[in-house]
Subunit: 330 residues, 2 copies
């Protein structure tokens, strides 16, 4: 039934009893009210062999990324990350230097984003490395953006570019399988950076704030654009229409995709791990969006009857599918 | 260097930058200030093969315990647990029914303690089950009890009994190794319950509150009395003296220890997982403590020069050691 189905199934009839719980399961973060500001909470577990392969991921980068993906969830609610706790399960093959490297990446991310590391837990593991990070953040109640606020005719916007982190992973995997002494990454450093050391788009929120735009619905793109858009549409009770030729795609990523015989649009729709911000906002905000850098309007919200569709370069309409890798028959 | 040494090493020069961070690494919980009440945060990771053995731990019990040990950390700061997030890593050998059983235990614990399950993360794992739970709680600033407040001549108190959860584990392990078709648990149900389904001592805090006693330092006993007392003394800059004949020991646990040729006092000092509350309070509160049920005075705080010692039944003085299993030469 998939991760989302499973969580939905397991949590379907939960009823909060704490007055401080404002929003439970079902968004990027839970929302609590402990006084003047709202408190956001998100958590993420990374397991060796599933989420990362230490054959090509340096531990410092892994630590950095593990922290940043949590910050990204807080930003995706229009909040500010403030504290994290870190739990590690470590098998015997890791040395103290390894764990220091991992921690140095976590701490670098905390410094860059102004977040405090306030606690955690370190224990032995039977096999491999397990990392679980929980992040708290704050926001004023009126600023929080949920997934369920998209309205008919809203613009659909995305930051940066899509599919690039996925192409970085393909590149790492290719060079690993080639087993060459010197992997060939020349000219493709940006792809690697997007996979190994992603950043959370705090700058986009600052740009939107400066421009006076508040999104109506927002998520970060961790599982792929299609999957995230389907979440927003299902929770907002709307449909959507996005355009293939509007999808922001990096040149290096497109070149590598061609080299590897992959469809870059499929990668952009389903690749995941880009940690870009995907949001909807009122059509009235169109003019205000123009000065915001690195932001792209890729479509608009429709009536729910229309469904969720991609308009191809030749005008053909293709329904969006979550994590399908089959939107184009690949 | 051990878990505590490692965490200390990795976090030794962390400096909080968020105004809301009031206490970072180094106590049962971090403490944040988001408005009127303080917010406590604690996290715990449980890994199969390290923290639990599914050969004898039912999944529902495991879920219950995983939640309760986090609540216990919040109570150990004199706070009230309010929300948890749950991250699960699940390998292919677990069925949906298995995960439902695990979740039903978590949810039962939440219901019993009035805590909201507000989010989480469920992912695949390569091997075994990984559970990471983070718990938030609240407390009035003036009520929070840290580990560092123990003063000279304070009484040292502990709730319930000690070493019982450890004896429950020994029993389970013995029956597993005996590989009998029907394990023999007759008359020992309480030991099993202490190991498989511990409770957090909210009732003790209620009793203290009613009696008008505020502890000066407090922890929950998860790693064993010796280890926890050494934490309190080191963080408070004091020594301590506890008495062997004052240690609360369960009759069933003592009987089983004798049967298995174990020293029950060593088990009580180092066994761990009892989740009882260990605290110090002013000598002036002595009279007020008397009506609080299931609470035992086991010693007092001394000058730091005295060190941390156990006075044996024959008056001999033995230095307390953390997790040593060697206080009595066993």
């Amino acid at each position: 039934m998939g991760e989302f189905g499973l969580i939905k199934h397991l949590t379907k009839d939960l009823k909060p009893v704490q007055p401080s719980t404002k929003k439970g399961v079902g968004d990027d973060c839970a929302v609590m009210d402990f006084g003047t500001k709202k408190v956001l909470m998100t958590t993420d577990m990374l397991l060796e062999g599933i989420h990362f392969n230490l054959e090509y991921v340096p531990l410092k980068h892994l630590g950095y990324k593990a922290a940043v993906v949590n910050f990204s969830d807080i930003y995706a609610m229009n909040g500010t990350p403030t504290q994290i706790t870190v739990s590690l399960g470590i098998s015997k093959r890791f040395s103290l230097e390894d764990i220091e490297a991992l921690y140095s990446g976590i701490r670098l991310a905390c410094e860059r984003y102004g977040v405090d590391l306030v606690g955690g837990d370190t224990c032995a593991s039977m096999t491999g490395l397990a990392i679980s990070i929980t992040c708290l953040g704050t926001a004023n109640a009126k600023d929080i953006v949920y997934r369920n606020g998209a309205k008919l005719n809203d613009l659909i916007c995305v930051s940066g570019n899509l599919g690039t982190a996925y192409m970085g992973l393909q590149l790492l995997e290719r060079e690993r399988l080639a087993n060459a002494e010197q992997p060939d990454f020349a000219g493709k450093e940006y792809l690697l950076e997007r996979q190994l050391k992603p950043e959370a788009r705090r700058d986009i929120l600052e740009g939107l704030h400066k421009a006076g735009v508040k999104p109506t619905a927002m998520m970060d793109v961790s599982d792929g654009l299609s999957s995230e858009l389907l979440h927003i549409c299902s929770q907002s009770g709307v449909g959507c229409c996005i355009y293939e030729d509007k999808l922001p795609i990096d040149f290096e990523a497109a070149a590598l995709a061609e080299e590897m015989n992959l469809n870059i649009v499929t990668c952009a729709l389903n690749g995941g791990e880009d940690y870009e911000l995907l949001f909807t906002c009122s059509l009235d905000d169109y003019e205000k969006l123009i000065p915001v850098e690195d932001l792209y309007i890729i479509g608009h919200i429709t009536k729910p009857e229309y469904g969720c569709n991609l308009i191809g370069r030749n005008g053909e309409e293709l329904p969006l599918k979550a994590q399908g890798w089959n939107a184009f028959g690949n």
